[in-house]
């Protein structure tokens, strides 16, 4: 079988089959990196890659694993950012209190959006989420008494860890980002490996068949949506405290498209896909600054080309390694791995 695999599949197989060493190695490298790299500019890019990875992971749960294409995830990103910013500037709370609260609120908004709209399928759902994103932006722009409208929220404090502000210079922000990415990846991986995860993939592959097999589609779809909104909100809170200033123009439809491009390019329905996508789509514009004018042409072209030639993304597709049964499942007596 190995001889018939294409390049991408070989890479995937390589990564997946050596999972046990690859993961600790990758984590070790990431932990040590900021001590080697002196340039704050590069660190900043890595932190942004981290933020977009979280966004992509959360969108991947809804789009890659459950097959519901959401074009409005920038809305939850915005809600998380604004909630955390407002709580910390108006009530003086610390990031470590406001960020989880913001994420929870984003999740609640995900629930409120998901319940009525997840009945819709395919394109209708996507357009509705897009409309929701614009409505959120309008609310942020117009509800001046709460959000300051177009003036945005200024002087959002950096996260305080036992009295020290975490920023790029002391590498605190980087490690905080790693922690956030780690938590998100762990939670989403746990969901994906569980019964719920299998239900989600079943819904993606054929919702009607899944329903007839006893999967409660609506419930699972809403759950995926809420979790996804939660983590997007968390990323938003992090962003707000990192840049210290947000306004309604930060979170537009373009942002949703960037996140979608990352998921599509990296690989839908995989855990490593969002990371690859983020690295590629966030670092390349920096390297190719001279091509800046064409940036959105490139994003558009990525969407078109990927859909045409590799809709599952670079790292997406069928699982190539043997499926490992979860621990508590009784193994078949014959010793055959299934």
């Amino acid at each position: 079988m190995r001889n018939t695999l294409g390049v991408f599949s070989r890479v995937r197989l390589f990564i997946d089959s050596r999972r046990a060493i690859m993961l600790p190695v990758a984590i070790a490298v990431l932990l040590v990196l900021p001590l080697i790299i002196q340039s704050q500019y590069i660190l900043r890019i890595m932190v942004m890659i981290g933020v977009y990875s979280v966004l992509a992971l959360s969108l991947n749960l809804v789009t890659g694993y459950t097959g519901q294409v959401s074009l409005g995830h920038a809305a939850f990103y915005a809600i998380g950012a604004y909630t955390s910013a407002l709580l910390s500037t108006k009530l003086g709370l610390n990031f470590f209190v406001t960020a989880p609260l913001a994420a929870v609120f984003a999740g609640i908004c995900g629930l409120m959006l998901g319940l009525p709209t997840l009945r819709l399928t395919g394109s209708y759902l996507s357009i509705t989420t897009m409309g929701f994103c614009e409505v959120v932006r309008m609310v942020l722009l117009n509800w001046e008494s709460l959000t300051n409208g177009p003036l945005g929220i200024q002087k959002i404090p950096k996260p305080m860890f036992f009295g020290t502000p975490l920023n790029l210079a002391n590498r605190g922000l980087y490690y905080l980002m790693l922690a956030m990415v780690g938590i998100t990846a762990y939670c989403i991986h746990a969901i994906v490996r569980s019964n719920t995860g299998r239900a989600l993939t079943a819904i993606r592959d054929d919702e009607l068949a899944a329903t007839m097999m006893g999967v409660r589609a609506m419930r699972h779809k809403v759950l995926a949506f809420v979790v996804s909104a939660f983590f997007s909100g968390l990323a938003g809170a992090f962003y707000a405290h990192m840049i210290n200033y947000i306004d309604p123009n930060t979170f537009t439809f373009d942002t949703s498209i960037v996140i979608l491009s990352i998921v599509i390019m990296g690989g839908m329905g995989t855990m490593t896909g969002p990371f690859l996508g983020s690295v590629l789509l966030i670092s390349f514009p920096e390297i190719l600054r001279f091509m800046a004018e064409y940036r959105f042409v490139v994003y558009g072209a990525i969407l078109v080309i990927m859909m045409r030639f590799r809709p599952q993304g670079f790292l997406g597709g069928q699982q190539l390694t043997s499926y490992r049964l979860p621990k508590h499942v009784v193994r078949p007596v014959s010793g055959r791995e299934n």
Binding site: L120, S123, S126, I127, G131, E134, L303, V304, M307
Partner: protein, 293 residues
């Protein structure tokens, strides 16, 4: 009362423009069950090409005709390069939607690069002054736009309902396979539909550019979304539904701008869209379709 009447006139003018763009969405959705997200950028493209040719001093009518043809061909190009390969591969519907989103970004940003992102001047197409009736000011150009749009919509309805091609389109809408078996060249008809969509977008773009006298690359984004809302409201796939939907959205937007404030006008279209999709996804005039398993 004066104000209400005045805003009704404003709203109807705005609305007929949305209707013209909405028709393009309906045509493509009807035949392919696909929401052609790139329609907005095709509309902007049409306006830019008109501006370009008028700038070359081709004369008004030849310039607009050239723009209509070229934009129609762009529509065909989009189908041939982006969508037809997906149909051949029998990809999921969502792939086509994402492809059209990608195409809209490509077209819009290429317009920015080629023509520059600043707003450009477009010559006034109809300047015949105003007249006042019942205390409201009605611009002659508003009436002219209304008339031209209605004429175009009538032509499109005629094509769809009384020509062989239109019959073929309706047949494909109902059952693509059966139509193919009956000898209809499905791909040709689809190509023709995209051409029609592109040309109507070009006409809409030119009319609006002439009305507001401005052309800019992102002009398709908002209008595209609102026209889409109009198409959905009327029942996507149904031509006269798009017209009614467009007028409704135009009126709602104008009244929202008047009584709620200018910053809310864009949100109204989206709210209507969300409400329609939640409560009656088939729209005002649409019929519920039953999918058999």
């Amino acid at each position: 009362m004066d104000m209400v009447l005045q805003q009704i006139i404003n709203g109807l003018t705005l609305g007929i423009i949305y209707a013209l763009v909405a028709v393009g969405y309906s045509l493509v959705f009807g035949i392919l069950r696909l929401i052609n997200f790139s329609h907005g950028s095709v509309y902007a493209f049409g306006a830019h090409i008109s501006m370009l040719f008028i700038g070359f001093n081709f004369g008004l009518v030849p310039a607009i005709t050239a723009s209509v043809v070229i934009t129609g061909l762009l529509g065909v190009f989009i189908d041939k390069t982006g969508l037809e390969p997906l149909r051949k591969k029998k990809s999921k519907g969502i792939s086509a939607l994402i492809t059209t989103i990608g195409i809209s970004y490509i077209i819009q940003n290429l317009l920015m690069i080629v023509f520059g992102s600043q707003t450009k001047f477009f010559p006034k197409l109809f300047d015949y002054g105003n007249f006042t009736v019942a205390g409201t000011v009605v611009g002659i150009r508003q009436i002219v736009i209304f008339a031209i749009a209605l004429l175009l919509l009538a032509v499109l309805t005629f094509v769809v309902n009384h020509t062989k091609v239109g019959l073929a389109m309706k047949a494909i809408e109902q059952n693509q396979k059966a139509a193919h078996l009956m000898g209809i060249n499905v791909n040709s008809v689809i190509t023709f539909t995209f051409f029609l969509g592109g040309s109507s977008a070009a006409i809409a773009g030119t009319l609006i550019a002439g009305y507001y006298q401005m052309v800019y690359p992102v002009m398709g984004f908002m209008v595209g979304l609102k026209a889409f809302a109009a198409a959905v409201l009327g029942g996507i796939g149904i031509l006269y539904g798009s017209i009614i939907g467009g007028l409704f959205i135009g009126l709602s937007e104008t009244f929202a701008a008047t009584y709620l404030g200018g910053s809310y006008r864009d949100a109204i279209a989206f709210l209507i869209l969300i409400i329609v999709l939640l409560f009656k996804p088939s729209g005002l005039f649409g019929k519920k379709t039953i999918t058999k398993v």
